[in-house]
């Protein structure tokens, strides 16, 4: 009963949807047609980006309303959200994960570390940025990127 009262008092938490981002048309996005299943791959991140991704799928930013949904297997996924600099131990698993994802697939590099190794550039365990290991279709800069930026990147794929 307490929970019911809480639900009634809280009402809608999701913020008003910002206008759809005007970005380049991705050919793969046309085939996906408003339904995008997302698999997150942590290639060596400090978990800052993971917290922001979790916030993007939380009640306030609610990425699910644009047709994106987090799934448990790369076989179910259309989009891989890759975070962190790619460590030596995660380079091969990352390649295999991309290989296991059915086409049409997109790889989104999330966070400064994924783009250019960021804080961890030159580290002894770091193999390189995500683009050094697998082809990257979209980039989300920031350390960590705001949930708004992650949602905007997903909306260029879902086109909603």
């Amino acid at each position: 009963m307490n929970l019911l009262r809480k639900i009634r008092e809280t009402g809608r938490v999701a913020e008003q949807a910002p206008p759809a981002p005007q970005a380049e048309r991705l050919p793969a996005a046309r085939e996906l047609a408003g339904s995008v299943q997302v698999r997150c791959v942590d290639a060596g991140s400090c978990n800052g980006c993971e917290i922001e991704i979790a916030a993007a799928f939380g009640p306030v930013y609610d990425a699910e309303r644009y047709g994106a949904r987090v799934v448990a297997s790369p076989r179910h996924a259309d989009v891989l959200l890759v975070t962190g600099p790619v460590t030596r131990n995660m380079a091969e698993p990352l390649r295999r994960t991309v290989e296991a994802t059915p086409r049409p697939r997109l790889v989104i590099a999330v966070g400064d570390c994924a783009l250019n190794c960021g804080e961890f550039a030159g580290g002894y365990g770091v193999q390189g940025s995500v683009a050094d290991v697998v082809p990257v279709d979209l980039q989300v800069p920031g350390c960590p990127p705001e949930p708004d930026a992650i949602v905007a990147a997903l909306r260029t794929v879902t086109r909603r």
């Binding site: 929970l3 019911l4 639900i7 809280t10 009402g11 809608r12 938490v13 999701a14 949807a17 085939e31 996906l32 047609a33 408003g34 339904s35 299943q37 009640p59 609610d62 699910e64 309303r65 644009y66 047709g67 949904r69 987090v70 799934v71 448990a72 297997s73 076989r75 179910h76 259309d78 296991a100 059915p102 086409r103 049409p104």
Partner: protein, 317 residues
């Protein structure tokens, strides 16, 4: 009976196939609203299926016929069940084959096929999901069979249209202790069979807590679309079976064509209402620990046993 009955079966199957993804979309939407989210819309599962059909099919190395045939067999068994269960009309050409035991067996066959497919992938999670599913099924089946016995005693038959028609013509039976106990028992096992909370979490991403999802981790593209559609149809058919057995009002029992649209609309409304209620209730539930699931299912078994006893000793009026 022939023409109207055939139309009834065909429209009923069409409504189940077209409506099952919408039911899932509705349940997700109800949950999203209660969590303060906006939600993806009722049509999202249909968009997901359309997208999956366009994707590249992948068959993992080392998988055999069980993996490849499972999606087709799952959908096929569910389609047969959707045709057999009297959701809209009890006067159909298949009424003599529509035994409650056949329906239960076909649903169990779908479950077993999916578990075999999970084992066939040879991955740790596939085998784990299959073994968990078989544990749950082993506890669910006795409850279902006992509930069937309890429901068939007043009607004098395990024929499903006969039981439903009996309920339509004699509504007092539906409020008898046997019917109520069997209803609660069947509701609990429906939750377990369709992988809903508190037995399984349909939206989990954690492999260690999965049951249904763990078995289908390796499917992609069109195969995954079939599996998802099959699972959604199973949920729709089982909720429809519950409404047919315990709130059968509106189901056509004669051969009049005019009763059919009303029966279909009432069926869609009742299942949507039940699904929305289930989704709202799920917001308040947490997933049970796997070790506690047998206790829940043993409780439902006890209710089914009491229902059988009650149907002998408290036969209503």
């Amino acid at each position: 009976m022939s023409a109207v009955g055939t139309v009834a079966v065909l429209t009923q199957v069409t409504v189940v196939v077209a409506g099952a993804p919408l039911l899932t979309g509705l349940m997700r939407q109800v949950r999203a609203r209660m969590e303060g989210r906006a939600g993806a819309g009722v049509g999202q599962p249909w968009r997901d299926l359309r997208k999956l059909l366009r994707k590249q099919p992948i068959t993992p190395v080392g998988t055999g016929p069980a993996f490849r045939l499972a999606p087709l067999l799952l959908v096929a068994t569910t389609l047969v069940v959707a045709a057999l269960v009297p959701l809209a009309s009890t006067a159909t050409p298949v009424r003599d084959s529509a035994d409650l035991l056949v329906v239960v067996t076909l649903l169990a066959l779908g479950t077993v096929i999916l578990a075999l497919a999970g084992l066939d992938t040879g991955t740790a999670f596939g085998g784990m999901g299959a073994s968990r599913e078989m544990t749950v099924v082993a506890l669910v089946e006795p409850t279902i069979l006992l509930s069937v016995v309890a429901l068939s005693i007043p009607a004098g038959s395990t024929n499903l249209p006969a039981i439903v028609a009996h309920g339509v013509h004699d509504p007092a039976r539906l409020a008898s202790p046997a019917s109520l106990l069997a209803g609660v028992a069947l509701a609990v096992v429906t939750l377990a069979e369709t992988g809903r909370l508190p037995v399984d979490n349909p939206s989990t991403h954690l492999e260690l807590t999965m049951i249904h999802e763990a078995m289908i981790l390796e499917y992609a593209g069109g195969d995954l679309a079939l599996i998802e559609l099959g699972a959604q149809m199973r949920l729709t058919v089982l909720l429809g079976l519950l409404t047919s057995l315990f709130v059968p009002w509106g189901i056509a029992t004669g051969t009049a064509a005019a009763a059919l649209p009303l029966a279909l609309a009432l069926f869609a409304g009742k299942v949507a209402l039940l699904g929305a209620g289930l989704a709202a209730a799920e917001v308040f539930w947490a997933k049970m620990r796997l070790f506690k699931v047998p206790e829940l299912l043993a409780g439902s078994f006890l209710l089914a046993l009491l229902a059988v006893g009650a149907s002998f000793f408290l036969p209503g009026n």
